[in-house]
């Protein structure tokens, strides 16, 4: 059974013309982690607030652990939904210490034991009597998570949880939070604008833009086979080129020649398409078929980000971004030979993107009726 299932929810805020969230559907199995990924203002936090019950959808249905909590006739207020929240600013109650913060909503008889248990889980045993202002950023975040987990929620949702942490701590907390959630067996929904967060911790990633779902899938799927140019550019860097599907149905003809391609998005031979070429798929190779000149070079430490101008078969110039291994010595203006690795070349979807609810998810009665 899905822990959370959302069917075609739409929300327009009063006084706004366009909806903040449009026909969003998603489903998540128990124990999995989903990240809703998108630029700021894309509606991802609104989805979170709709699921938590802080906003009411105009249309559509939300089902938590098999029970409808919001649709045309049903409305369950947030306090009765059993959804744990971790906000960006953590929202720890400043008038309560760690112990009472975590136990705030817990009403079972085993309150003391349960608090000790979740403190153990987030590795903060012994911090019971600390006040929130005496904790570091990472500790505060773990207390907020422990508080959300204490009631054994159906679902825990985290809104940009790593935003206020510095880069080094961010990386560590990412893994730590993912460990805690997996260990507790909880289902989790993250909201993030950072693709690294999303790729690192999620079982599922949903990319959102302007309130519309762009793509839904595993991190690998989303990175390797982006549905459209927005996803290709937002999740990592990419070069977008136009081309035509080859006769063999396994390659694309572009200005750079015929590129072998693994994922064709069900496009038929002869169809005009756009192709996403990740910078990682261009590799220096003295026997490579592509010859180009480096026109821009940025050293990032992990690699060189090089912009290479190629002259295509038709004589038109093409400028592509390539990642060059930092041990190679390259200079601005160098002529270089490169080859294309097919693993990170993908044909973008030639039809509008849809986000499929898995088959097991139920009938999918939407708002359209």
């Amino acid at each position: 059974m899905n822990a959370i299932q959302v069917e075609n929810i739409t929300k327009t805020f009063p006084g706004k013309r366009s909806p903040a969230v449009k026909e969003i559907s998603l489903a998540l199995e128990k124990g999995k982690i989903l990240t809703i990924l998108g630029p700021s203002g894309c509606g991802k936090t609104t989805i979170l607030r709709l699921i938590a019950g802080f906003e009411k959808p105009d249309r559509g249905r939300i089902i938590l652990a098999g029970k409808a909590v919001a649709d045309d006739t049903v409305w369950v207020p947030p306090e009765k939904r059993g959804v744990g929240m971790v906000f960006q600013d953590y929202a720890l109650f400043p008038h309560l210490n760690v112990y009472h913060n975590i136990g705030f909503g817990y009403r079972g008889k085993d309150r003391k034991e349960r608090i000790a248990e979740v403190l153990e889980l987030v590795k903060l045993s012994g911090f019971e009597n600390r006040e929130p202002h005496e904790l570091s950023g990472g500790q505060r975040q773990r207390v907020a998570l422990a508080r959300a987990l204490a009631r054994r929620p159906v679902l825990v949702m985290l809104d940009e949880p790593f935003n206020s942490l510095d880069a080094e701590l961010r990386g560590r907390m990412r893994l730590e939070i993912a460990r805690i959630i997996k260990e507790s067996g909880t289902t989790a929904v993250f909201v993030s604008h950072d693709q690294k967060d999303a790729l690192a911790i999620s079982d599922q990633v949903m990319v959102i833009r302007d309130g519309l779902s762009q793509q839904c899938g595993s991190p690998q799927e989303v990175y390797r086979f982006p549905e459209n140019s927005f996803v290709a550019n937002f999740v990592g860097q990419s070069n977008i080129m136009s081309g035509v599907i080859g006769e063999d149905g396994r390659s694309v003809e572009t200005g750079l020649g015929v590129i072998p391609c693994e994922h064709l998005h069900d496009c038929r031979p002869g169809e005009k398409v756009e192709v996403s070429i990740r910078p990682d798929s261009l590799e220096l190779d003295e026997r490579g078929p592509l010859l180009g000149r480096i026109t821009c070079l940025v050293y990032t430490g992990e690699s060189y980000e090089a912009r290479v101008d190629f002259v295509g078969e038709g004589g038109d110039r093409m400028s592509l971004l390539a990642h060059v291994h930092p041990e190679r010595t390259v200079k601005l203006g160098d002529m270089v030979r490169m080859k294309l690795l097919p693993e990170f070349v993908a044909v973008l979807g030639c039809r509008p993107a849809t986000c499929q609810v898995p088959r097991s998810a139920g009938t999918g009665r939407g708002a359209a009726d």
Partner: protein
């Protein structure tokens, strides 16, 4: 198919931007707003039922005369207090005046002296049988005159301008002045072209505050036997001519509304923003040969507004205490004062919470209106509130009419805005995420209020309660009009005994009020 019930529901949801409040919250806040609207409403209603003849009679003679008196007084006090307040603020914030830090405090201190107490002190000094006459053998300055009233009111209202404009001056980034200086402007030019324009919104707000105060003041004006709307209304009520009082009150309210209208227009027009995040503390201007005259000015203002009145009160209080002024009677008045003021403070804290919570967490036209009505009392003069409550209670709650219950009621209407302001300020510091987290942890809206909001805003509410307490303690006109016979408070005794020139009895009560007013002032200063 259109279903009327559901479209009504939809309309309600849209009105509250999909976030309608619970019934208990809306009901308690709405009731508070209605209660605060009662005095103004009944005064208006009574004046409209007065009939053409009464209106005509007053409009022909009395109202023009009062209008002239009140407006000239308000204009003179506002102008002088503004010039004095801005000048002192500039000296203290921008120049190298000796002892600047101490003066920031000392020059604000006259706020703790209620103007009617100041008036008593100046009657003692400058009155017909005052000290000045004993020393100089003749009357130096007639305190019972227009300029006497202007002097007393200015001395006790300039600190508003001083504080508000001082805060504005302090926040001006030094870069602007440095740029002006690099363009070749001198200190005077910088004041006119940089400092003053920046200060204008603050100065406007402060000037409005002073004018509103002058419009509503009763004690000082009455003690100095000047005649304005408030005193005229007071003596009409005292003479049981409530209908004429209602007509005069409406005229005064109209005047108040005009002043407030000016403020709204002025505030809407311009806003200044600091352009840079980097903030440099001001570099003091060297006063040079102006140092001594500046110091003399500051000293003179301090002497007139604080030292002289405080000195007089301490002198007479010591005489009074030696003659047994602190007998049982005194403590009975004090207990009455403290009792009704504490009741008012408690009620204001309890009533402010739903109003600020509704406004902050459920923004809508309705909650905005509720808040506006609830804070309308700050523009209502005490005499008008008293008159409105007399109408209301004598008609609808006659069993309470003539009891002391009317006093806290009047204080709450008048001073609830102070509790709403401080309570609202402290609620604004509590992120709405706190409410949402509590809800996600299973708390009903009522539980959120008591487990999260109340503990977090209690400090702000207590501060508001303290301000209401002190304001109620000082309140004079409504207390005089609404107290049951024989129920005397400190402010009533000051009025009665000063009226009979029994200064040794009035002074201890006045000193007690002043001492009790100091802690809230400290809070106000700390915030600026």
């Amino acid at each position: 198919m259109i279903r009327p019930v559901s479209s009504l529901k939809r309309g309600w949801a849209v009105l509250w931007r999909d976030n309608p409040p619970g019934a208990a919250l809306l009901f308690s806040a709405g009731l508070t707003a209605l209660a605060c609207a009662v005095p103004a409403f009944y005064v208006l209603e009574r004046s409209l039922s007065a009939g053409r003849g009464r209106w005509q009679g007053l409009l022909d003679t009395r109202i023009p005369q009062l209008l002239g008196n009140t407006l000239t007084l308000a204009a003179a006090v506002t102008l002088i207090a503004s010039v004095l307040g801005v000048g002192l603020a500039w000296l203290v914030r921008k120049s190298d005046l000796p002892g600047r830090r101490a003066w920031q405090w000392l020059l604000a201190l006259p706020l703790v002296i209620p103007p009617y107490v100041g008036a008593v002190a100046y009657i003692i000094i400058l009155g017909p049988r005052g000290w000045a006459r004993e020393i100089f053998g003749e009357r130096v300055f007639d305190i019972f005159s227009f300029w006497g009233v202007v002097f007393v009111l200015t001395m006790f209202t300039y600190p508003y301008v001083f504080l508000i404009c001082g805060a504005a001056l302090k926040s001006i980034n030094r870069n602007f002045e440095d740029v002006a200086r690099s363009q070749g402007l001198g200190t005077a030019e910088i004041f006119w072209k940089v400092n003053l324009p920046f200060m204008r919104p603050a100065l406007g707000a402060a000037a409005i505050l002073v004018s509103l105060y002058v419009l509503s003041d009763f004690g000082a004006v009455a003690m100095l036997r000047y005649s304005t709307f408030t005193t005229a209304i007071y003596y009409r009520i005292d003479g049981y001519d409530n209908v004429s009082a209602a007509i005069l009150s409406v005229a005064l309210l109209a005047l108040t509304l005009i002043v407030l209208g000016i403020e709204v227009r002025a505030r809407g027009r311009r806003r200044y923003h600091q352009t840079s995040e980097v903030f440099l503390p001001p570099r003091p201007v060297k006063l040079g040969r102006w140092k001594l005259p500046a110091l003399a000015l500051v000293l003179a203002v301090f002497a007139c507004s604080l030292l002289a009145p405080a000195g007089v009160l301490v002198y007479w209080a010591s005489l009074g205490i030696a003659r047994g002024a602190l007998a049982g009677e005194f403590w009975r008045f004090s207990a009455n004062s403290v009792g009704v003021a504490a009741l008012a403070a408690l009620a204001a804290m309890l009533l402010a919470l739903p109003v600020v919570y509704l406004r902050s967490r459920h923004p809508s036209v309705v909650s905005g209106l509720i808040e506006k009505l609830s804070v309308s009392g700050y523009a209502l003069p005490g005499v008008v509130i008293a008159l409105g409550l007399i109408f209301f209670f004598s008609r609808y709650l006659p069993m309470l009419y003539g009891t002391f219950a009317l006093l806290p009621a009047a204080y709450v209407v008048r001073f609830l805005p102070q509790a709403i302001q401080t309570g609202g300020a402290s609620l604004n510091l509590v992120s709405p995420r706190m409410d949402e987290v509590a809800k996600s942890l299973g708390c009903s809206p009522g539980k959120v209020m008591f487990k999260v909001i109340v503990p977090l805003v209690t400090p702000g509410l207590l501060t508001g309660g303290a301000l209401v307490f002190v304001s109620s303690l000082k309140e004079l006109p409504a207390t005089l009009l609404l107290r049951p016979p024989g129920f005397d408070t400190l402010s009533v005794r000051i009025w009665v005994e000063a009226g009979e020139a029994l200064y040794h009895l009035a002074a201890p009560a006045a000193l007690l009020i002043i001492v009790l007013s100091i802690p809230p002032l400290k809070w106000l200063l700390a915030r600026r």
